[in-house]
């Protein structure tokens, strides 16, 4: 087994910064399935996702010197992926230009991270599998990162560049909307 396989993402990124291209290959291996899975939540065309993931890795390599190895690598690469996928959606669908979202403007009280019970979590995931495509993207993404990528509110905030309290608000609202869509679709 290659010793590099035992290195953390941050240690591999540090080696890439020092000029070790081979280490970048290990990062690609680690993140390729994750980013492809993340991409399927935004875009349905698999070939297009493949192209986008390739572009993401090229951007990661190009900008790797801006990564601070004292920070976690995962939110950093997901931030690049987030931008790439969001831009891809914008190119395909003409969305109205919004400078700031109201959710990000005001402080929210209901921002604490609360752990769902196992049953509730699996129910939310089931609803997400069935109805996620019907959900507004601003609610869809934090739900994906929270339930599928196992990220906490702070990491999601880092990826989406929104306040931590807004992450909580969007996840809670997203779950409610998901429940409504799910009920409308299957219970009527």
């Amino acid at each position: 087994m290659d010793l590099k396989e035992q290195l953390t993402d941050e240690e591999l990124a540090s080696k890439v910064q020092a000029g070790d291209t081979e280490s970048f290959g290990f990062l690609v291996e680690r993140y390729e399935p994750k980013l492809k899975r993340y991409g399927t939540k935004f875009i349905s065309n698999r070939a297009y996702i493949e192209d986008l993931v390739q572009d993401i890795f090229i951007k990661v390599y190009t900008n790797i010197q801006s990564f601070n190895t004292k920070m976690r690598f995962s939110p950093w690469i997901y931030r690049i992926a987030h931008n790439e996928f969001v831009n891809a959606i914008k190119k395909r669908v003409r969305t109205p230009l919004s400078f700031f979202d109201l959710d990000e403007v005001f402080p929210h009280l209901t921002s604490n991270e609360t752990a769902d019970g196992e049953a509730a979590e699996s129910e939310t995931k089931r609803m997400m599998d069935d109805c996620l495509d019907k959900l507004d993207s601003k609610y869809r993404e934090p739900l994906i990162l929270y339930y599928y990528e196992d990220m906490d509110y702070q990491e999601i905030a880092e990826i989406m560049h929104i306040p931590i309290s807004t992450v909580g608000v969007r996840i809670n609202r997203g779950k409610k909307l998901l429940r409504k869509i799910f009920d409308d679709r299957f219970k009527k």
Binding site: E32, Q54, F57, Y61, T62, N63, Q65, V105, P107
Partner: protein, 267 residues
């Protein structure tokens, strides 16, 4: 090895994908920081300038006359400058929103922080003689770029409000020398029982006053009169004091030198 990994490593090895050097990001961060500082400086300058022209015209004090005064204040606000300021605030917010200290908190906090900081620093700059000196230079034609800005904004008359220095005073009227440069050299202010004095009637000659009322042929039927601070005169008084003390020091040095010279001649 996956296909994607091969493709990417190939692109790196053939030089199709190139790593940007660290200095590129450092330079970018420095430029963003410098840009933010410059925009902050512009905003502080704009804020202090708006406060300065509102004081200069007297409109700053108009709200003391109640709703009519608030109307005068709002009508005399330099909306173009305020609009420019708002654009700079939006640019600044966009610049700092890239940093975690800004995006981790609700937008309201960072916007309030910017506005508060600019207001505090702008008020501090207003207290300095910066704008008085620049206006003086503009009036003397020695401020090539900002001459129009200073001359334009400080000579704009405000609707139904006038400022001036009291030259003569009696129970029924004031004679006021106007500071507005559109021919209001001498104004007569008629006082009636209806005239409001929000800060009392303790007026004396050389006081600067804000008068609210319609002007007709250099006569104003005063709806209200308010004594207001004249920063320019306070500054010029301070300058005069400073000049006097400098003059005294020079005289003392001169005297000491003369005494030394006399002593040397006597030896």
């Amino acid at each position: 090895m996956t296909d994607l990994k091969n493709k990417i490593l190939d692109k790196i090895q053939t030089g199709e994908a190139k790593m940007r050097p660290r200095w590129h990001f450092i330079l970018k961060a420095i430029l963003a920081a410098v840009g933010s500082v410059v925009i902050f400086a512009i905003l502080i300058y704009l804020f202090s300038f708006v406060v300065f022209i509102l004081h200069d015209s007297g409109a700053w004090f108009a709200p003391a006359f109640g709703s009519e005064g608030i109307g005068i204040f709002l009508a005399s606000l330099p909306w173009t400058l305020i609009f420019v300021g708002i654009i700079f605030v939006v640019i600044l917010e966009t610049l700092i929103r890239r940093y975690s200290f800004a995006y981790r908190k609700p937008l309201l906090y960072s916007l309030s922080g910017i506005v508060l900081f600019v207001a505090v620093m702008g008020s501090a700059v207003y207290q300095t003689p910066l704008h008085d000196n620049l206006l003086l230079k503009a009036e003397e034609g020695r401020l090539p770029l900002a001459e129009e800005l200073y001359r334009g904004y400080t000579t704009q008359p405000i609707r139904k409000a006038h400022t001036g220095i009291i030259k003569k005073i009696n129970d029924k009227e004031f004679k006021v020398e106007g500071r507005i440069k559109n021919g209001d050299d001498d104004l007569t202010i008629k006082i009636s029982p209806k005239t409001k004095f929000p800060a009392g009637q303790d007026f004396k000659e050389d006081d600067r006053v804000l008068i609210v009322g319609n002007k007709k042929d250099r006569v104003i039927e005063a709806v209200g009169v308010l004594k207001v601070k004249d920063k320019r005169r306070i500054n010029s008084d301070q300058d005069r004091k400073a000049d006097k003390s400098e003059e005294e020091n020079l005289k003392k040095i001169e005297l000491d030198l003369n005494i030394d010279l006399e002593r040397q001649i006597l030896r």
